[in-house]
């Protein structure tokens, strides 16, 4: 079904505007607002699923019927619809979870509004076919996320929000500078026309500098290792559903997706940029995993593990870029498939882990693993879902994480890069140990005296966690069942393997 693309931005934007107004009308209106927010995220998820069945591969919407390059366009292709789906799933679960969880905070309407703004920004980034609009949507999502990180207004939260905001704003300025350079060198802001112009004139010094600025800017947003300093502070400080959104989809849409779009579809792949991504990915994987070992704060451990897992995604995409530039198309598409599948998997299981950490924190009032123990009997559902997510992230066979890591290993071996395959397996083992530690200290062992009376919070929180846990268990089917693979993953992979066809497809419409 062909869906008019602006609705993906319009629904959350309208919701963001009306929810706080509605909530001012009294107590009943307040719970109605929460219901509406849930409806909005669910309808976005349904629309994202429907958009998978569109009639053509690439759907272009020209805003106000102004044809490109004069007007602004929105583009929905395989990669965008994959990301829309991930955003839909994670935001639905996070919103369901916050219905109950956010009762502990005041100013819930403001929270709902910021949440919706963040979703609008992310959907906009994914759909935008215009560089400057990409920047505007990026800023909408980022500013909403800075405010959400500092939402609790405690000392640590304010400090983390300020740190995140400084680095995030520097990243945005880098991106804007890069966009200015692209405009100066190509004379257009439309992605398709810019891509066409860049590939006729070649990569002159100005454009190479722009590419470097994009790598630094989007790398900061994606928290790749030299640029990762803000993530372990920012993600744990936010309320749990927001941590799930930030780690689950925000760093991937604003960072990985935007960088991938730039490298594959606009600048075109080359061996240099491919290796740059491979190195960034490998360093993030290893450093993130090692730093996660020493953490005793539940959410901080999860945040470091996010750095490591985003490394996998970037490694897969970088490996794909390198192999494409060298002409090994078959192995390249396998590496890209692994990277993208890992992106979706990580979105699901990391948001689930953050939600379980929120459930644990709400029941016990602490995030320190050393003060927990024996929670398995008190929080049975949290324990089960957390175990499923841990097994998934560690790559234990039937669960989703195993399949994406397997594909990455096969692609690395097929390309003859055995040492990369070895590092992937090694980091996977580190991840397993890390999550065994979480299981051991949080859920097994002796129940401390002061936690004898705790109760599990059920209701909507439980629904959200079970939903994600079911997805975690069965996501492997996305690669195993040919029909699902052909509708969800293959179109996204094709967009990247034929990166420069993007311009032809969009202009040809």
């Amino acid at each position: 079904m062909n869906i008019p693309l602006p609705v993906f931005v319009a629904i959350p934007l309208i919701a963001a505007f009306f929810l706080p107004i509605l909530s001012g009308l009294g107590r009943k209106a307040k719970s109605f607002a929460t219901l509406l927010a849930n409806l909005a995220t669910i309808s976005l998820l349904v629309l994202a699923v429907l958009a998978l069945g569109r009639s053509e591969d690439i759907q272009v919407y020209e805003i106000g019927k102004w044809s490109i390059p004069i007007g602004i366009n929105m583009v929905l292709d395989g990669l965008s619809s994959l990301l829309l789906l991930a955003i839909g799933v994670v935001s639905t679960a996070a919103m369901l979870f916050s219905t109950r969880y956010m009762e502990q905070y005041t100013a819930k309407p403001k929270y709902l509004s910021l949440f919706m703004l963040m979703v609008a920004g992310m959907n906009g980034v994914v759909l935008s076919g215009d560089l400057f609009n990409l920047y505007v949507f990026l800023e909408i999502a980022s500013i909403a996320s800075y405010a959400l990180v500092g939402f609790g207004c405690n000392n640590e939260e304010l400090e983390a929000a300020f740190k995140y905001m400084v680095l995030g704003t520097i990243a945005s300025v880098f991106v804007l500078f890069g966009i200015g350079l692209v405009y100066g060198n190509t004379g257009t802001l439309n992605m398709a026309y810019a891509s066409k112009a860049i590939n006729t004139v070649g990569l002159n010094p100005g454009l190479a500098f722009a590419l470097a600025l994009f790598v630094a800017g989007f790398g900061l947003k994606a928290a790749l290792v030299p640029f990762h300093a803000w993530l372990p502070d920012a993600h744990p400080s936010a309320p749990a559903p927001i941590s799930a959104m930030l780690s689950g989809v925000l760093i991937k849409t604003l960072g990985v997706y935007a960088l991938t779009r730039m490298v594959f579809c606009i600048f075109g792949v080359s061996v240099t940029i491919g290796w740059l991504l491979v190195v960034l990915g490998l360093v993030s994987m290893v450093v993130g995993a090692f730093l996660a070992f020493g953490q005793w704060d539940f959410k901080r451990l999860l945040a470091y593990s996010s750095i490591s897992q985003v490394g996998y995604v970037v490694l897969g995409l970088g490996l794909g870029a390198t192999l494409l530039a060298q002409g090994h198309a078959a192995w390249a598409s396998l590496a890209i498939l692994g990277g993208l599948f890992h992106l979706v998997n990580h979105a699901v299981y990391k948001s689930l882990l953050f939600l379980t950490s929120g459930s644990v924190q709400m029941s016990t009032g602490t995030r320190q693993l050393k003060q927990m123990g024996g929670l398995a009997e008190k929080l049975p559902f949290t324990r089960t879902t957390c175990t499923i997510a841990s097994a998934s992230i560690a790559g234990i066979p039937p669960f989703s994480g195993f399949w994406s890591k397997l594909i990455l290993v096969v692609a690395a071996v097929g390309a003859g890069l055995y040492w990369i395959a070895a590092i992937i397996v090694f980091v996977s083992l580190c991840t397993l140990i890390m999550y065994l530690k979480v299981q051991r200290y949080a859920f097994l062992g002796e129940l401390p005296e002061n936690l004898q009376q705790i109760k599990e919070h059920r209701g909507s929180m439980l629904v959200a966690m079970v939903l994600l846990a079911v997805l975690c268990s069965f996501m492997g089917l996305l690669v195993l069942v040919p029909y699902l693979r052909a509708t969800v993953l293959t179109p996204a992979v094709d967009v990247l393997t034929d990166g420069l066809l993007y311009a032809v497809n969009v202009i040809g419409k």
Binding site: N155, F162, V166, T169, I170, L176, G180, Y183
Partner: protein, 121 residues
């Protein structure tokens, strides 16, 4: 030459944001960076001796004037539109940043980021 000055301004802002210890100075550094990028965008569309890209009511009849001589003389209006948008965005993020500074000052009683260190590791 003007581009080099603009780049220098950008680097000054970046240096200020990364090195300074005072939260307000960090915010100022970020503002300087944003201004440098805005000036850069304006310069992209600037043309020495250019005219404003506005066609008057009577002039529309002479199509020739609009297409060749006019287009060769007018400045590029697109970057100016971009800068307007980017100024609005930086206003929003500036307001949030200053609000965070104020709240942090209320809590810690200092703007020095070396003393505001609850988070580490």
């Amino acid at each position: 030459m003007a581009y080099a000055w603009c780049f220098l301004l950008f680097m000054t802002g970046l240096y200020c944001a990364v090195v300074k210890k005072n939260m307000v100075k960090i915010v100022l550094g970020i503002i300087i960076m944003e201004y440098a990028v805005n000036i850069f965008l304006i310069m992209l569309g600037y043309r020495i001796g250019g005219v404003a890209p506005i066609v008057g009511k009577g002039e529309l009849a002479g199509i020739d004037k609009v297409t060749s001589a006019f287009v060769n003389n007018c400045v590029d209006p697109l970057p100016q539109a971009l800068v307007l948008t980017s100024i609005v965005i930086s206003l929003g993020s500036l307001a949030l940043m200053i609000a965070l500074c104020i709240r942090t000052y209320e809590r810690y009683g200092t703007f020095d980021i070396t003393e505001i260190r609850r988070l580490r590791g």
